[in-house]
Symmetry: C2
Subunit: 243 residues, 2 copies
Amino acid sequence: MNDQSSVPGRSDPTTWVGVDPSKDHTRPPPLSRSRIVRAALGLVDEKGLAALTMRALATELEVSPMALYNHVRDKDELVDLMVDLMLGEVDTSVTEGDWLTQLRALVCSYHQALAAHHELARAYSVRVRIGPYGLLLMERTVALLLEAGFSPSEASDAFFVLFIYTAGFQQIGHIVPRRDSATREETGYFPPLPPQQIPAITVVSPHLDGPHRPGRFDYGLDLLLAGLRVKMAAPEAAATAPQ
Amino acid sequence: MNDQSSVPGRSDPTTWVGVDPSKDHTRPPPLSRSRIVRAALGLVDEKGLAALTMRALATELEVSPMALYNHVRDKDELVDLMVDLMLGEVDTSVTEGDWLTQLRALVCSYHQALAAHHELARAYSVRVRIGPYGLLLMERTVALLLEAGFSPSEASDAFFVLFIYTAGFQQIGHIVPRRDSATREETGYFPPLPPQQIPAITVVSPHLDGPHRPGRFDYGLDLLLAGLRVKMAAPEAAATAPQ
DNA sequence: TAAGCTGAACGTACGTTGTATAGTCAGGTG
DNA sequence: CACCTGACTATACAACGTACGTTCAGCTTA
C-alpha cells in the first residue's frame, strides 16, 4: 500500500533495466527485469504489438503470468522499458563532420532504431516517460543544435520537430491488417473512386507506394535540414509565411 | 456468412456516413450510422480515447450495446468513420495566394482539425483506411504540389512528409496520465538526473514546455516549406547530404 | 383485415485481457 | 532447528469486443 513498494522504483534511472544477475543457479535462469524486457521486445518484433500480453510473455519465459509483476509494476512500465531498450540502439557517438552532417547521422540512426522495431515504435510516441537512453539521445541532439549556434528556444523547437517527424514516421501508415481476413484486399490505401474525381492522385499514384517508400524518410529529413540551414544562414529572411 | 452482409458495405464511399434518415417517427430518434459516429466522436473528445467502448457508447445513445452492430461492422470501422468525419472539418477550398501560401493554409487547417480532436488523432495515424474526406484532402494537397511544378514522384514524397509530420505531431507527447494516480507527479518529461550529465538539456529546459508549445507546429511547417521552396528553386543544389 | 416477411434492437454468453489477492515454497540467517 | 523473506503460483474478478439466437414492430401482399 506504500509508495515504496517491493517493486524496484522507476524513478531511479539506474534501475531501468540493469544487468542480468544470472547467479549461477538452477538451469532455468531466474527471472529478471532485463530478461523480461528483452523477451518482450523479441515477442513484439516477431508477432506484433497486439501479441504482447502478459500471459503470452509469461508463457515464453516459462513462468506464470503473475511472476512478471515481481519485476515490473505493470504493462505500461514494461513498454516504457522496452522503448528505452530500443533507444539504446541509437548511435549517439558521431563526432565528425559539420553540425548538419552530425545531425543527419544522429537522426538517421534514431530512425533506423525505430524502423528495426517498428511495431514497438507504434506504441512509442504516445509515451512521455523517457528513460536514460532517450535522455542521452535528446542531450546529444540538443547539444548539436546549440553548438551550431541556435538559441536555446529555437534549439528546443528544432529538436522536437526532428523528434516528432522521426517518431511520427514510424507511426504512420504501417499496414495494420483488419481482423476480418475476407476484407484483406480492401487494405489498399484508397477506396475505388472514379479517376476523374481525383485527377492529381491518379497522376501520382504510380509513385505512392504507401508512406514508406525507401528514401522517403530521407526526403523529409532533407527538407527539415535544408530549412534549418536556411534559418541558420538568414534567420529573418527564412520565413515562408507572408507576414 | 456472406460477404454481402446486411451491414452497409464499406467499399461504397457514399455510405461512409451518409445522411441521418430521421424519419419523423417516435421521440427517440432511430439509430443511424451518422448518429453513432457523431456520438462516438463527442464521447472521445470529452472523455478520451480509452473511454470509447461499445458499451459506453451504447449507454450514451440509450441503446443496447449490440444494437450498434446493425450499423457498424465493428469498432475498427467505427473509428475509421470517426476519422473521416474529423477530416471533413478540414477546409480544402483555399485558392488564393501562391502555392506556398495555399499549401500552408491547407496543412494548417489539417493541423487544426486534428488538434480539435487530438484524442481521436492519436488513433488516426495508425490507420490506412482512408475515407472520402481524407481522399479529398489528399487530392487537393497533391494537386497543389503538381501545380507548383513538382514531379509526380516528388509530389508524392512531399505529400507524405507533410502528412506524416502533421499527423505525427498530434501523436507525440500528449500527456497520457498513468493509471496510478500516485505517480502523477512523475509525468514530468524527464527523470531527475544531475544537470552536469545533461548540460544541453539543462540549458534549453526553460524552453521545452513539452512537445506542444504554441507555435511549435508552425516552426516545423516553416522548415518543411522552406525546404520545399529551396528544392523548387534549385533542385540539385538543395541536397544537404555530402554525396 | 390477415398473414407473412424483414430488419432493428435485445439478452445472454464466451473468450481474452490486465491484475488484485492469497497461498506456497525454497534459501539464507538467527 | 525455527524463522523470515522474497520469488513464483493459483485463483479470481471486472471490463472488454462481439457471436449467437430471440423478440417485436411495421410494411407488404393477399
